[in-house]
Amino acid sequence: MSDNVVPTLPTAEPIRLIDENGHAVTGEQTAGFAMPDDETLLDLYRAMVTARRFDTQVTALTRQGRLATYPSALGQEACEIAAVKSLGADDWLFPTYRDTIALLTRGVSPVEILSFFRGDWHMAYDPHEHRIAPQSTPLATQALHAVGLATAATLKGDAVVSLAFLGDGSTSEGDAHEAFNFASVWQAPTIFVISNNQYAISVPFAKQSHARTLADRAIGYGMPGFFVDGNDVAAMYAVVSAAVDRARAGGGPSMIEGLTYRMEAHTNSDDPTRYREKTEVADWQGRDPIARLESYLDAAGVLTPELRESISVEAEDLASRTRDAMNETPVIDPLELFDHVYSTPRAALLEQREYLAHELAQTETAPGGHA
């Protein structure tokens, strides 16, 4: 139990540095956080534009049947990019299925990212190379892995921070609570970034929590909690990077809720018309995180037409590289199914591998056999 310092509640209004019209915010609502410098903002802008182009491209490819499924993060770019950009090279990211653009921003190649959604294998990139855990599907489970990894790093004397993405719905899971509690008791250098896009598939936030904000949970763990405008990348970046610095300096974990909105369906197989109004979506279109930063940078004279042009060219280039990559059909050896289950070979699995090898050999020769 921490000494009786009265904990402070998160602000009722989300922390904001740039308002919906692209104007700098002053006073209370900044909660004392300073505007990131222009270079940083430009970097965030570039990443968001690229990420969105990638996201829309992948959604298109999914509609064309090139991918098994794709959960889009359209509209959530500020949370995603701000979080990733706040991390150092040695820090670890623990993403969910929703956070694909975060992987892109951290440098994973389109093919290595999309291989999972195409259904080649459960994942393709090397977690150690990128310091990115597998995209987690079982909700909230990855938050505990993040706490464990950060604790291990601390025990080994490495100043490594871990950051776990969580959705609003996933915070209802027991594992989310256990992760918050372990992190605070162990003072693990772990940042919990909750992208509150206000829906868990079809379930609105009101049916998920009765709290004023999810950030209000932090007090119950003696942890700093921040309620942030999740469509204001400047605010998200300021709050998350401050939390990362605090964690690295031994200040323990933080909980950061970014209030945002899922513009697309949950996945391509979802039908949002069953549970939300088009008008609601339209409202949020007006709060677009990229447009907002764009007009701010415009006004600041930082984002020249040339620059904007070159950025969108970069983005287009990525999109076409992604298309090309997805047009190649991957070669997957079915026999690999048996190769990674255990580190040491097992007789039973070798037998089963043999069985499949034999079957494949036959079907290749047989008429109408696959491959």
């Binding site: 719905g169 289950v341 089963q352 494949l360």
Partner: protein, 359 residues
């Protein structure tokens, strides 16, 4: 229309079926006689079963993740909130242990919750509530508290789902005393068995083979098929007995067709009830054919097929001309979509397995 759609509902009645028919309740409000045959999918049949149960019994409630306005990711609960209201069918917070745990409390107060785990692997967070409470409450309280709860779990593969969306988790439940575990293979059984499961005073793990959700059949709903604790002989044969359930019943029937072409007379039994196991129906079949094989998608090691092989052998050892075969998934995690075709048992694999026997 698939093989199963012609054969399943009109399946041959198992010997003791009539005797037991009494134990299978059916909505008095809707006598089968009045209904007209129509083409229904398993998904539609399940939806109708929920509707009829909600209509007939005010103590029935349906809740879980996305079962409300969305109607569930598989639309099994389609339009139920609209038609019965939020107090009968609603979206719960996203927590499986919470869903099962609160259902237990509701059942203690006389309700009959029908809850949904969105996918097989997402029932695991509820494992403690299921094994330590749901399964044990009646025994613990010497029968004073029964828990008439149905946990609907879409399970198994075949739909190209990414990891955690294709597990066959039946063995975890069938090994847990206190649970009843059933799984339909066709629309008629889906309706009848779900109605019976909801009417049961014991907790029922109701496993829905998601790859069969869209399989259609001509059925007059409401329909009452065999009691849910009975297996059914779907196709008679004399050379070998294929035991299957849920998604692999279709595989077994296809194998029987292929076998017939090769002059092999294959009997196909749809187990339907995984716990209890219907020895009364399976025994005579194996005695007749003297050979048996069990087919399932789950990994083989410690899978449900092990129990089937063990008990059939215990009871029919001296009738068996060969060891019971297990045609199952491999002992690996369920593969990614592009590779699942290599994992799932096929009719060809069944026949290949039968060929390993000395005849």
């Amino acid at each position: 229309m698939t093989l199963i759609d012609e054969t399943a509902p009109a399946g041959i009645r198992s010997p003791a079926a009539d005797a037991d028919a009494a134990v299978a309740p059916v909505s008095p409000a809707a006598p089968p006689a009045l209904a007209a045959p129509a083409t229904v999918s398993m998904a539609a049949a399940l939806n109708r079963a929920l509707r009829d149960a909600l209509t007939d019994d005010p103590s029935v409630v349906v809740f879980g993740e996305d079962v409300g306005p969305l109607g569930g990711v598989f639309r099994i609960t389609d339009a139920l909130t609209a038609d019965f209201g939020e107090s009968r069918v609603w979206d719960s917070p996203l927590a499986e242990s919470g869903i099962v745990g609160t259902a237990i409390g509701m059942a203690m107060y006389g309700m009959r919750p029908v809850i949904e785990m969105q996918f097989d692997a997402f029932a695991y967070p509820a494992f403690e509530q299921i094994t330590s409470h749901l399964a044990k409450m009646r025994n613990r309280t010497r029968g004073r508290i029964s828990l008439p709860i149905v946990i609907r779990i879409p399970y198994a593969g075949g739909i190209g789902g990414v990891e955690h969306h294709s597990d066959s988790s039946e063995a975890y439940y069938t090994h847990t005393p206190g649970l009843t575990v059933v799984t339909p293979s066709n629309p008629a059984d889906a309706y009848s068995m779900l109605r019976e499961a909801i009417a049961s005073d014991d907790p029922v793990i109701f496993l829905e083979p998601k790859s069969r959700y869209w399989s259609k059949d001509t059925v007059a709903l409401p329909v009452q098929t065999e009691p849910m604790n009975r297996a059914v002989v779907l196709r008679e044969g004399t050379d070998v007995t294929l035991l299957a359930y849920g998604p692999t019943v279709k595989t077994a029937l296809q194998a029987a067709e292929l076998g017939a072409a090769e002059g092999l007379s294959v009997e196909v039994v749809d187990l339907r009830s995984l716990s209890p196991f219907d020895d009364e129906t399976v025994g005579p079949s194996v005695q007749k054919t003297s050979r048996a094989a069990i087919i399932h998608e789950a990994a083989q090691f410690g899978g449900y097929g092990a129990e089937v092989a063990a008990r059939v052998t215990e009871r029919q050892f001296f009738h068996l001309a060969a060891p019971v075969l297990r045609i199952t998934g491999f002992d690996i995690p369920f593969p990614a979509p592009k590779l699942e075709e290599h994992y799932l048992p096929t009719a060809e694999r069944v026949l290949a397995a039968l060929d390993t026997w000395e005849w």
